[in-house]
Symmetry: D2
Subunit: 293 residues, 4 copies
């Protein structure tokens, strides 16, 4: 289906910067961009502490022809701004969307939500590959014309399965991965080997109800709200930097099953919000926390 | 796809009652149910005014074998309870889900959300037919295995188009209809002829921004929240009884286009909530308002 | 100040019931009320499981003269309904508001909010006494004309201090107590001796961030929402039955100090909601959970 | 009362700028600030359209000694940055809080909430004067040590009453005024004469339910949410630029009176949020809309 109205962002570039806070950062970057003829559209900055803290910045700008002059721009920025100020930085072009691999098991809600949003133009990503440990969602994936690859995972074959996943993800050129209710824990080895961001959706308002069966745990504790948390995956389970969270109110009338049903709506919203923010270079990681511009 | 966990409601019956408030209603109904061996699971009641007001009740109960004894139950209830207390009432069995016809144009978000929830078992309805005035969503409908019928509508052919819609909806045995962002106004004649509930989703927090282009109007007014409203359709545009509403916060950064994108998430949630409530006989209409149990 | 508009509930009575679920409960209670000339205004019920579960009910009704006929009503209900069905039950009259003792330390927000709501008629309670371990809020308490009693508490004098608190609370005829950010842990002995409900407000969305300094802990974990939880106090810290919870969204811009400031608005709302529900007999405790009608 | 924890903002300066969007604005301002030794803490910008639109910026920075060098700073900024770029701009120092006059009638909830937040250090304002058309809230005002002046207003004396209000507000050096549920409409003459921002709280989610009795109107329409809107006052009633809005969910159970009670909590939150944003120079007005940084 083609939507009559497009809300795709027009082609732009995004510069994300992390460095020690010090006077003159904004001046240096904005002066550089001005000198190169860029028009800044959005600018966000954050400092953990103006004296001795860490400084984060995201600048989105138009610069006609940057697709072709990217190398020169990069060399100049490195020399004039980034090296003198000891910056970690990235330049991304909206005309070159990130490649996102989706890992999924049998629950379809987060998975379909991402595919729909991609199709509608809400998410500026490419999805070259879907990996699953079950056959269930093959037909849905194919409906969207995306390769769907099943690698069963068990205690016995986990290292081999992960190696195969890794091979396919690299082949697909994955820039990041999304666990859309993927029901297997990724090993530390896998995460290190992949070396790129992996976004997960956990079905509770972390740090409450870490681990398996959070809706059952929420029911047992008698909480009056349930939630979902999207975070970057680290080796420690459910403890990585949080990108987005939300909750909804529930009453004594709910059972673990109806909590699970209600939770689906929060899960898919929260995951979509996190993926969109990541795709648009709005998330800067700092230790175990995130700055989300 | 078959889900490992089902959250379908177990077979039950629902009695909805509207009558003049008066002492003894609850006693009469609960006594009757008890005498017939029913086990009440949920009971809700509301009175607009204990003296001289209107009384609303919804009782959900288990009664084994009611599928077969429905006629006798109905006769007895009429004689023993409903007539003496001058009740308007309905009995519905969850084993006989309502038939819902969906009307849609080109926007897919509300439409896909309903089909997907139906597939997940969240909505206890049958969808015998989808009607559209455009071809765009045919493939999606077919993916869900539901007949998709296109009837183009223009100023010139509106009466004929509505007559054909009506014929197909009756043939399909429609118990109610849902306008899932259907971009044509239904005529008063159509509504009277159909004679059954029609649920619409309007893309603003009514009564603000009645009519066309509410996101543009919201942008122009500079509101700090946008919303959606699901309501029963009446002849007066956007003025029927409201079933569900919700909003989300927005800032000066949004354009009419991004408001439209953000609004999609509220629209589909609000419409799904309204349809679910209607399908479960939770909505009782009273003049231009609703009681939603 | 006298408000031009009162929203005080008109005099009514509330019956709360807990018993094993079994057929005929609603019929028995509503029949009894009808026979005694009561007019039911609201009725809520809940069952943990229709077969073998626990049944909860709250019925609010008008019954003229019940102030004078309460003893006879109680005897009759016991004999006709409560004993045959083995019910735990309570009858409360809105004309006899509960006596609420407030314990407070130095934070004023929850404390003032309760006093304001009481003054405005939002909370149908009497406040015969405020207890504090600090002098700070004396002037505020006196502004509202409520006795303010300071009992300093330290490691050394805790048993004596609690004994004195207990003596004053009993003298004041306390029906329940509210810890409006009272910064001392009540001992198990105190709770047992007092033998009545104690409502606390904890400044996190429990079970996350149990214990001291939850805003600091929330900051350290980098959560994207903060919250508050009101619960009944049990001997195990922050683990009692939850009555109400809420959260608000926060970003990376907040510090532990601004989280604390933002959290004040959630804390006072959540505590007020819990206190109002308790005062109106809407909360039934079941093990470590609550039913809130 | 002295709070153990202060969340007062440390002394800083805020520069707010509105001008035609054009390349080099951020560079010019940040370069100027750097050259003067300022350390930027927060920076926000917005453009209605990068080509031909309006540009808005708020920069918050530390600059030791600016209290004493303000005139020189102002002259230099005018010459080097503001005039070349045709900027409307303002410089405000947090060490010189704005003077806020509160107008109030008989409802106490918004009024008390503002006074209490001021006392807590949440609002960096001075309140030199409270004006009312009723005596009711005198004692509360005096409890907070703020002069309370009653000027009764009727159809007959409105011009004289407004003249007297204006005189007192000028005498008090008012930088802006807040209508904390002040139940009189201010005349266009008054607004022009005063010539400074006036913030109102309207008890509905505007543009729905403009005018008097919005809770009654909300009840009649059967909406499922109620809300509040804080906006700058213009001559057209309830049509000025919106600063903040919020809503809460309601059901069929509410009456106009309980809607009014529930609404109080939204009203005071929304008004406080708007006043805080205004006091911190976060609100830039653009036609009939606001940019809120």
């Amino acid at each position: 289906m083609t939507l009559p109205v497009s809300d795709a962002t027009p082609p732009s570039a995004t510069l994300t910067i992390t460095c020690a806070d010090q006077p003159g950062i904004v001046a240096a970057v904005s002066q550089f961009l001005r000198n190169h003829g860029a028009n800044i559209i959005h600018s966000d900055q954050h400092s953990t502490d103006p004296s001795g803290g860490t400084f984060f910045m995201r600048m989105e700008f138009y610069l006609p022809g940057l697709d072709h002059t990217r190398d020169a721009f990069t060399r100049a920025f490195t020399q004039v701004v980034a090296e003198p100020l000891s910056m970690d930085w990235q330049l991304n072009l909206s005309s070159q969307p990130k490649k996102m691999v989706v890992l999924v098991s049998r629950y379809d809600h987060c998975f379909l939500d991402l595919l729909w949003r991609k199709r509608r133009g809400e998410l500026n990503v490419e999805i070259p590959l879907i990996l699953s440990n079950h056959e269930d969602l093959r037909r849905d994936a194919e409906m969207f014309g995306i390769p769907f690859h099943v690698i069963p995972v068990s205690k016995d074959n986990k290292p081999e399965a992960e190696a195969e996943q890794l091979r396919l993800m690299r082949e697909a050129g994955a820039d990041f991965a999304v666990l859309a209710r993927y029901m297997q824990v990724l090993s530390g080895d896998f995460l290190r080997e992949f070396g790129r961001p992996v976004i997960n959706i956990h079905h509770s308002f972390l740090p409450a109800f870490v681990g398996a069966n959070p809706y059952r745990a929420a029911f047992n504790r008698g909480v009056k709200l349930i939630g979902a948390t999207s975070h970057y995956v680290t080796e420690e389970l459910d403890a990585g930097p949080i990108i987005a969270q939300d909750v909804l109110h529930v009453t004594h009338r709910e059972t673990p099953e109806t909590l699970m049903r209600l939770g689906r709506d929060v899960e898919r919203q929260v995951l979509a919000r996190a993926v969109k923010a990541h795709a648009e270079d709005r998330v800067l990681v700092h230790g175990n926390k995130t700055v989300v511009f």
